[in-house]
Symmetry: C2
Subunit: 259 residues, 2 copies
């Protein structure tokens, strides 16, 4: 059992929690909590750490000895945990590697393209909702928030393991590629000419979603084949980015279910 915060592995865990660069060098990310541990596919496990008290309390019930693991004293565990009330299980997980082709060549593509999304909670919730709505992949501009940020991971509730995603350096080129594949591109835009529920999403489609404060960059919005808007009542100008995306993704799911 590791009992000292100056242990080399403890130091590395702490760095992995904080530094996107190190996570990407090592091609790993960290998940915490029982649910994320239980949903973790075997082949993606790099290391598993239990807190001493968690291990002793849940060992039999959760069959903890079936996993290769290392124990941390409760103090050390609290030190490396990103949460205020750690559950006592933390895993170092291998990053998945998706290619653009994986996303574009899905059956009946239903894609979400994120331009400069910044809020970790928004991205995590969006991943979870996207899986529920049957989205086949998420493409992000390289200036979006890091998907392996612990706050993002937590809000995905496990969808991080299953939803294909990709960061791209040149979003314009990727959108051209999406269009060449015959996938219809819809920009969620306050100046959209068409109400979102009047467009047809039953064929391959991609929704372009912009930054929380500023929406889509003009050059990205201009590449979309259609601009759609969610009609607003009251004095609300726009919706939160994750909410807007959710309304669109579930409208596509609704149309596809009814076809």
């Amino acid at each position: 059992m590791i009992t000292s915060t100056s242990n080399a592995r403890v130091k590395e865990l702490l760095q992995l929690q904080k530094k996107a660069k190190l996570r990407n060098q090592e091609k790993v990310f960290i998940v915490e909590g029982i649910r994320m541990f239980q949903e973790l596919p075997r082949e993606r496990i790099k290391n598993i750490y239990f807190s001493e008290s968690f291990y002793h309390r849940r060992r039999e019930e959760l069959n903890l000895d079936a996993y290769p693991h290392e124990l941390l004293s409760d103090t050390v565990f609290a030190y490396v945990s990103d949460t205020k009330t750690p559950q006592g299980v933390l895993c170092v997980v291998k990053q998945p590697q998706y290619a653009l082709a994986d996303i574009l060549e899905a059956q009946q593509p239903h894609i979400v393209v994120l331009d400069n999304l910044q809020d970790p909670g928004n991205l995590g919730t969006l991943l979870r909702t996207a899986e529920g709505a049957g989205v086949t992949g998420i493409i992000m501009s390289s200036d979006c928030v890091d998907i392996f940020n612990p706050k993002v991971i937590r809000s995905t509730m496990g969808s991080i393991y299953r939803m294909p995603f990709l960061y791209v350096d040149h979003l314009e080129e990727t959108i051209e590629e999406i269009k060449r594949k015959g996938i219809q591109t819809f920009a969620a835009h306050l100046q959209g000419r068409q109400d979102y529920d009047e467009a047809d999403y039953r064929n391959a489609c991609a929704f372009l979603i912009g930054n929380e404060g500023n929406g889509l960059r003009e050059e990205i919005a201009n590449m979309a084949q259609e601009w759609i808007r969610i009609p607003m009542q009251g004095k609300v100008e726009s919706l939160n980015a994750a909410i807007a995306a959710s309304v669109l993704m579930f409208e596509a799911a609704r149309q596809r279910r009814r076809q």
Copy 2:
């Protein structure tokens, strides 16, 4: 200008930021930021505070002298602010007082009932989305998160000024009252028999939404006339409460727009 953190008004502001009980005794809440200041209805203003540097920088542009106000030194302002990077304007606002009748007797009621919702960001986002979707009022069990919590206020983006809401001590009785008024009650439930988009929300309706982790309490769900579910793909069991509510509210808005 107030320059000391031991000033009595400064101490009171800090208490108002932190303590729901004091806010409710004084029947006020605090908003921060330029947008919340600009949208604030005149008759709801109790006090306005500017930071020294904000006042000098934006005085003419924002016509700040048209408002009764007090100046705080930048240090004191940062001390009372709830945000990490304060914008320099903070208002003490009178709490609105809505009655149940205001909500139930709206034209074509479209009501959201929240049972034990806990996350401030969820409640704030839900208010903003509800206004956009044309919701006519929000009813909350008394154990929901405090709507005047600074984090809730921030995420409402101004909808807190406009969306009628009410906390009720006995949610069961209120739901009985809703039903007596001829408002159709729909529980968002994982065991719903009907897909959410197969129900009709064009007449007076109320959506019952549960707690983030546990959903609706059974005794509350059992009072609803219909149980509806949002069909899920992948391994997602449920949606975030604010997302689920958003999908339902915008489905109602869609049906009403098309009738």
